[in-house]
């Protein structure tokens, strides 16, 4: 060990310090501020575990991304972000207690929504009474937004939009379909979806010639399909659930109900639908909040392809991200951009920034009407083509053309 070695070490050390310092200033050039705490009660156990876990995945995807960048920039200061989760055991009452705990004890700056319309409704009232903004992604019931609440914002399209995309698409097709048979389950969400079509279709030159309600969860829908066949409709719509959509499709084949369009609100977007029906699943349409094929030009955050890749990197065994995941991430993005626009962590200023927000991300346009719900993002229409989901409408986000009209059952 000589003097030279010591000096070399000292030089090296100085160089390292200099690089670190430069690196620090290069990647941000600004100081680190206080941590922003977001709060979310989720049903991590209990009946809503599956959907709540997807919601949490969506939140966490954004959390990793924002903290890798140093946090949310507020007036040139980077604020790291923390999300505090509590398990509400899928109980709306417990969700409300925990929401209050997040506000009072954990001093959450802002709130992210729970899963489900019931918990969202209860928590919206808590957010309102405490005047803390809550951005939610998993409560589509319009009733939540008809209460005049000022602090709750939903990034997802409301229930009445679910099948409107199919009508919009049908209006662009040639020959144009004009008659609709609607088979709807009798639960509130399905009826909200179905009733919206009753009023919407005439504005596009189409008429609902048959509106039939059946018991939620029915497995035999032969009679309903028979009634539909009797009116010989161009479009068969179903507002219901996976098992009912499968039952209708099977009965339609058996009874040779040939329509130009078969579209079901919920069901065809899941892999189970294709598994259950095989080739008979082809040509079927559905409405979805988001699909991994959509093409939106994001103003910030990831593109759709990058998002799907990021999800698969973090959760390698789970396949493509579900729309629950995407809309939850979108809620975080809305909040992030609103905080940046507000240039403040003040809840009232961020609320006003949310109300004024208009930004497009991988999930689509996020903009809230006066009630706080995002009526501006269209629902996309998917079609199963040769056993694969393709997004076919709106044209500017689609990856395939609709295969129209649907061929008759004996010509497939």
């Amino acid at each position: 060990m000589g003097v030279m070695t010591v000096r070399r070490w000292a030089m090296l050390a100085m160089a390292v310090v200099a690089v670190v310092a430069c690196g620090g200033s290069e990647s941000g050039g600004n100081t680190t501020g206080s941590t922003i705490t977001l709060g979310a009660p989720l049903g991590l156990t209990g009946s809503l575990t599956k959907e709540s876990t997807l919601t949490q995945q969506g939140y966490n995807l954004w959390l990793d991304w924002i903290n890798a960048r140093g946090g949310i920039v507020v007036n040139g200061v980077k604020h790291p972000v923390k999300i505090k989760y509590y398990d509400d055991t899928s109980s709306a009452n417990q969700s409300a207690v925990l929401m209050q705990k997040l506000i009072t004890e954990d001093k959450a700056n802002f709130l992210l929504g729970p899963y489900g319309s019931a918990a969202t409704a209860t928590d919206a009232a808590i957010a309102e009474q405490n005047q803390i903004p809550m951005v939610e992604a998993n409560g589509a019931a319009q009733s939540i937004f008809n209460q005049g609440y000022k602090y709750t914002f939903g990034v997802l399209s409301p229930a009445n939009k679910y099948l409107q995309g199919v009508i919009d698409m049908a209006a662009t097709l040639n020959p144009k379909p004009t008659t609709i048979a609607m088979l709807s389950a009798d639960d509130n969400f399905s009826l909200e979806v179905a009733n919206a079509i009753n009023t919407y279709a005439p504005t596009k030159g189409m008429n609902v010639v048959l509106f039939k309600k059946y018991k939620n969860g029915a497995t035999n829908l032969a009679a309903e399909v028979q009634a539909a066949k009797a009116v010989n409709p161009d479009i068969v719509l179903n507002s219901g659930h996976l098992t009912e959509a499968i039952a209708i499709n099977k009965a339609a084949k058996e009874q040779k109900l040939n329509a130009k369009i078969f579209a079901y609100s919920v069901g065809p977007s899941t892999p189970d639908f294709i598994t259950a029906l095989g080739a008979d699943a082809n040509f079927v349409y559905d409405g979805s909040q988001w699909t991994p094929q959509v093409k939106y030009t994001p103003a910030f955050y990831l593109t759709v392809a990058q998002y799907v890749a990021a999800y698969k990197a973090k959760y390698p065994s789970l396949g493509d991200p579900d729309y629950h995941v995407a809309e939850s991430t979108a809620a975080c993005l809305a909040l992030e951009r609103a905080i940046e626009n507000a240039g403040s962590l003040d809840p009232k200023k961020v609320r006003d920034a949310l109300a004024a927000l208009d930004v497009t991300v991988f999930f689509g346009q996020i903009k809230f009407d006066s009630r706080g719900i995002n009526i501006y993002k269209p629902m996309v229409v998917e079609q199963i083509q040769s056993g694969v989901h393709h997004t076919v409408f709106p044209a500017d986000v689609a990856d395939a053309q609709p295969m129209y009209p649907t061929p008759a059952w004996d010509q497939r």
């Binding site: 207690v97 925990l98 209860t122 008809n146």
Partner: protein, 360 residues
């Protein structure tokens, strides 16, 4: 008989004083949140989280105390009392949300409708005994919730259907404080009613029915009228709690107005505290609800449960509640109020005697 010694009397006095101190603190602490107290520099002893939890506790005091009238004093194991809670909640909720009645006018209607309903179903139901009554009452509890969600008129749900019922947020200063004291008032009324029942001819009739219904009938007690009256009284008190809940929580649906787990919780609370007593169910409600909130991680003070991860906590909480139910029923059948009340003392001998009594 157990001879009551001096030391027992001293213990009893200590517990009494302790209870009064805790109750006084719980009732006075919220006042520190008032603007006047805050500007005077009084330390804040109760915030909005405290109010929410404390209001829940008071709500369960009402429900457990009300259940005690039919389940503890009369001896009819009603497993469907949550129906009265839901009916109360929906009565007040509908009057406020649809008919735009003021809350304080709509609230008294809740116990009236709940009473009417209890009288109506009590007449056929209370002819059943033992398990038959328990199962039938459980069925009623579930059925009413389903009806409320599914009844329609011209295709429109009458009671808000699956999407529930929204009430306007009650505009009053210190809202948390207001609902806390309102629920405490309801709890006070429930306890006072129980106190009166146990000292009235009516109450003696109910106890006679519990001990031996045939003998009571022979003695001239109109058992049907007495049982239905007890059932209706329990319904009125439970319905009142439901009515307060609806405006306090702002949003009601089948899940939160007819939660089936409340049926079990209110019974467990009454058993834990001591059935048939005045203060037992209330004590049980406070203890058990604090335990539920503690295990659920919503209390400001929380401790890690050894060997249990945060993710598994809610599941473990359910297991602990289940084990507690078994232990209480076997070892402490007369409730904790029994040995704090001075008649007996918690000892190994007590547990052995209980085990003997509850074994076949």
């Amino acid at each position: 008989m157990i001879v009551r010694g001096d030391s027992d009397r001293r213990w009893r006095r200590i517990f009494l004083i302790l209870g009064i101190v805790v109750a006084a603190y719980a009732l006075l602490a919220p006042l520190t949140s008032l603007d006047a107290a805050q500007s005077a520099g009084v330390p804040l002893l109760a915030d909005r989280l405290w109010f929410r939890i404390a209001t829940f506790i008071a709500m369960f005091v009402v429900m457990a105390t009300a259940w005690n009238i039919i389940g503890g004093i009369t001896g009819y194991a009603a497993f469907g009392n949550v129906a009265f809670f839901g009916i109360g909640a929906y009565t007040t909720g509908m009057l406020i949300a649809k008919a735009r009645w003021p809350f304080l006018v709509a609230l008294p209607v809740a116990p009236i409708i709940a009473t009417a309903f209890a009288t109506l179903i009590g007449l056929p139901l209370l002819r059943l005994r033992g398990h038959y009554f328990a199962v039938a009452s459980l069925g009623v509890g579930v059925a009413v919730g389903e009806l409320v969600q599914n009844v329609e008129y011209h295709g429109q749900p009458i009671f808000g259907g699956a999407s529930g019922l929204f009430l306007p947020i009650y505009s009053i200063d210190n809202r948390g404080l207001f609902f806390f004291y309102l629920m405490v008032l309801a709890a006070g009324i429930s306890i006072a009613v129980t106190w009166w029942v146990l000292r009235s001819r009516f109450g003696y009739g109910l106890i006679a029915i519990r001990e031996n219904e045939e003998a009571a009938a022979v003695l001239g007690v109109n058992t049907t009228a007495y049982k239905v009256a007890a059932f209706a009284l329990a319904a009125a008190l439970t319905g009142m709690a439901g009515g307060i809940f609806s405006q306090w929580n702002v949003f009601i649906n089948q899940d939160n107005a007819f939660p089936i787990e409340y049926n079990v919780q209110m019974i467990l609370m009454a058993l834990l505290g001591g059935t048939g007593t005045v203060f037992g169910p209330a004590a049980g409600a406070v203890l058990l609800q604090l335990l539920i909130q503690f295990l659920g991680g919503s209390l400001p003070i929380s401790a890690d449960i050894p060997f249990v991860s945060d993710a598994a906590r809610p599941i473990v909480a359910q297991v602990i509640l289940g084990v507690l139910l078994v232990v209480v029923v076997i070892f402490v059948p007369r409730g904790v109020i029994d040995f704090f009340g001075g008649r007996t003392r918690l000892s190994l001998a007590y547990l052995r005697r209980s085990l003997r009594e509850t074994s076949l």
